[in-house]
Subunit: 334 residues, 2 copies
C-alpha cells in the first residue's frame, strides 16, 4: 500500500448493475481524483473489457483480481461466508491485509455486514458496530445510526454511536468541531419515549465529549435539527425504510401522472433543467454509501440498485473517510 495514494477495493460483481456501475463509477472518480488507486475483484472476462474502455482507468491506477465466485443477492449470510473466494470477501480481505484503505460493494447487504464484521472485527472497546448513513436535509445531510445492525441496543452502545458519528463527521470535514447530537424519539418533551431512550438521554447529557441536545422526531431531521441522530437498529431501520418507501411512492405516482397526461408531458419539458437542480439537492444518490462504524477497517455499502453515478458517490465516501483517517479518529475518541 503506497502512502501517497488512497487504495480502494471494489467488489465488481455486487449489485443490480454490476459490473458496469462499478467500473464506470470508478472511472468517474478517477477522472476527478489523481491520488486514488483501485483494486477490482471480479470476473476478468466481464470486468476487463469495461475497464479497457474506461478513459481514466489505466495500469497506473488499477489492478484487477480475477475471481469467478460471488455472493448472490439471495444468499443467506451463512452461504456467503462459505464462499471463500467471492469478490465481496476478497475485497474486504484486502482491507484487513492493509492492501487497501477501504472497500466498496453494492452487493447483498446482510452478507456484507456479516463478512465485514467477521473479517475486519470490531475495534477494541466497541460494544457493537452500527450502520451509519446520511439522510438528506435542507442543509446537506444528517448522519443517522444505527440503521439496522443491532435490533436491540443498550445505553452504552447508543452513546458509542454518538461518539463514533462525531469521529465520522470530523474525518470528512475538519471544520466540524462540535456536531449536534440528538436521540430519535416520538416527541421532543423530556417525558416522551421508552426507558432505554430516557436513560440514554441522561447518559448523553452527562457526557462532555459530545454536544448532546435532546430528542428529535423523524420529521424534524429533514429541517436539519441535528448533525448526528442516534437510534437503535430496529427504530433506525423502520425510519430509513419509511423514508425510502415514501420517496419512491411519491416519485412513482408523479411519474405515472406524467405518463398519463399529454399536458403534463409538455409541462415536464420545461422542468428538466430546474428538475435536475432539484435532483442534485435532494437525490439520495448523493449520499449513497452506508458504513459499518466501529470496525477495524472501512467497508462501505452502496445501494443495491446503484448505477455508475450513484456508485461514484459511494467510492467518494470511502475515499474521503480513508483520507480523513476515520478509524484512528474513532479509536482516539472512544
Amino acid at each position: 500500500m503506497q502512502n501517497e495514494n488512497i487504495v480502494i477495493s471494489l467488489d465488481a460483481m455486487g449489485g443490480d448493475n454490476a459490473p458496469h456501475s462499478v467500473v464506470h463509477g470508478a472511472n468517474l472518480v478517477a477522472k476527478e481524483i489523481p491520488d486514488i488507486k483501485f483494486i477490482f475483484f471480479g470476473n476478468e472476462d466481464k470486468v476487463k473489457p469495461l475497464i479497457l474502455k474506461s478513459k481514466f482507468l489505466n495500469k497506473n491506477n488499477y489492478t484487477l483480481v480475477d475471481t469467478k465466485e460471488y455472493v448472490e443477492n439471495s444468499d443467506k449470510p451463512a452461504e456467503a461466508i462459505r464462499k471463500k473466494t467471492s469478490s465481496m470477501r476478497l475485497a474486504i480481505n484486502s482491507v484487513k491485509e492493509k492492501k487497501a484503505h477501504a472497500c466498496v460493494s453494492s452487493g447483498n447487504t446482510g452478507a456484507l455486514m456479516v463478512l465485514s464484521k467477521l473479517i475486519l472485527k470490531a475495534l477494541d472497546g466497541v460494544h457493537r458496530p452500527a450502520i451509519a448513513t446520511v439522510i438528506p436535509t435542507v442543509k446537506s445531510g444528517c448522519l443517522c445510526l444505527d440503521l439496522g445492525a443491532n435490533v436491540t441496543c443498550d445505553e452504552e452502545s447508543l452513546l458509542q454511536f454518538a461518539i463514533m458519528g462525531g469521529a465520522y463527521l470530523t474525518s470528512l470535514d475538519e471544520n466540524i468541531k462540535k456536531p449536534v447530537v440528538k436521540l430519535l424519539n416520538i416527541g421532543s418533551e423530556e417525558l416522551k419515549g421508552n426507558e432505554l431512550i430516557k436513560n440514554t438521554s441522561n447518559l448523553m447529557a452527562q457526557t462532555e465529549s459530545i454536544n448532546y441536545q435532546g430528542y428529535v422526531e423523524p420529521d424534524q431531521i429533514f429541517d436539519h435539527a441535528a448533525d448526528i441522530v442516534v437510534t437503535d437498529g430496529f427504530t433506525g431501520n423502520i425510519f430509513l425504510k419509511s423514508i425510502e418507501g415514501t420517496a419512491k411512492f411519491l416519485t412513482n405516482s408523479f411519474k405515472k401522472t406524467i405518463k398519463q397526461s399529454l399536458l403534463a408531458k409538455i409541462g415536464i419539458i420545461f422542468m428538466i433543467v430546474p428538475g435536475l437542480k432539484l435532483k442534485k439537492t435532494i437525490d439520495p444518490k448523493v449520499h449513497n454509501g452506508a458504513i459499518l462504524l466501529g470496525l477495524n477497517g472501512i467497508s462501505v455499502k452502496s445501494h443495491g440498485s446503484a448505477n455508475a453515478s450513484s456508485f461514484y458517490y459511494a467510492i467518494l465516501k470511502a475515499y474521503r473517510l480513508a483520507k480523513g483517517d476515520v478509524i484512528n479518529k474513532i479509536k482516539t475518541s472512544l
Copy 2:
C-alpha cells in the same frame, strides 16, 4: 339522538385553521349527505357568523353550543383536563351522553387522546386503545395502528389491534371480508425482529379470526402489501412521522425549485390539471382522521393544520364509522 340521522359533534375551536376549517368542512359534508346533523361547540361570536354564511347549514341540520373555553395547542393534557367546559371536552361528552354518534377535533392531539380515554373509556376487555389511521397506498390505503397511543405494547394488545382494525374496515365497507393483517418489522424473514414481534407473530398465526400473513417492511406498505398493519405505538409513531417528514421535505423542495426557476413556472402551468389528479390519489388529506380504537365511542382526530376540505374528510370518516356501527363491530369481534 334521532335514529334516522347521524349526529356528529364538532370541536369548532381546535386546530390551526379553526373555526373556519370546521364550519366550512361541515358545510361541504352537509352538501353531500342529507342524513347528517352537527353539534358545533365553540365561541358563538366567532362560529355563528361563519355558519350563517354557509349555504348547506340550516336550523334543521345543526345546533351550536356556546363555550368560551378551549384547549390550546400548548396545553399539557393535565391542563386540558382542568378545562371543564372546553369545546373539545364538551364535544367528547356529547358522545358519551349519546347526544352524538361521534366527535371530530383538529385540536391538541395529546389532550384529545387523554380526554377521549377519560370520558369515553375503554371497551370491556380492551387492554389498550390504539391510534389508527390510513396510510395512502397504490390501492387506496392501508389501516395502520397503533400510531402513538402506547409506547410499549404486549402480544395480547397487538393481537387486539389487529382484531379492532378488522372491525374498523368492515364497518366502512361490508364487502371487506378477510382483510390481510401484517406486523410491521425490519425484514420479511421469520427470524427478523425483536422478541415481542416474533412472539406476536406466533400468536397471530394461531388466531383464526384474523387473516394474518406475516411481516411487512415500511416501504412495502405503499405497494399495499396489507390491508391492516399492526405495530406498537413507538414504532408506529416513528413510521408515521418519517412518512410525513419525507413527504413535506420533498414537496417543499419541489415548490422551492419552481419558485426559483422561470422555466419551471411555465412548466407547472401545464401540470395543474394532471397535478390535481395526482393530488387526489396520494394526498394524505383524503385519509385525514385518526381514531382512538377500543373506546366506547368514536372520537376522530383531524390533522392540526387541516383546512376545510381536509376537515371534510375527517367528518366523513366519523360519519361512515358511526353509520357502519364500528363500536358494536369491535365489541362483537373481541
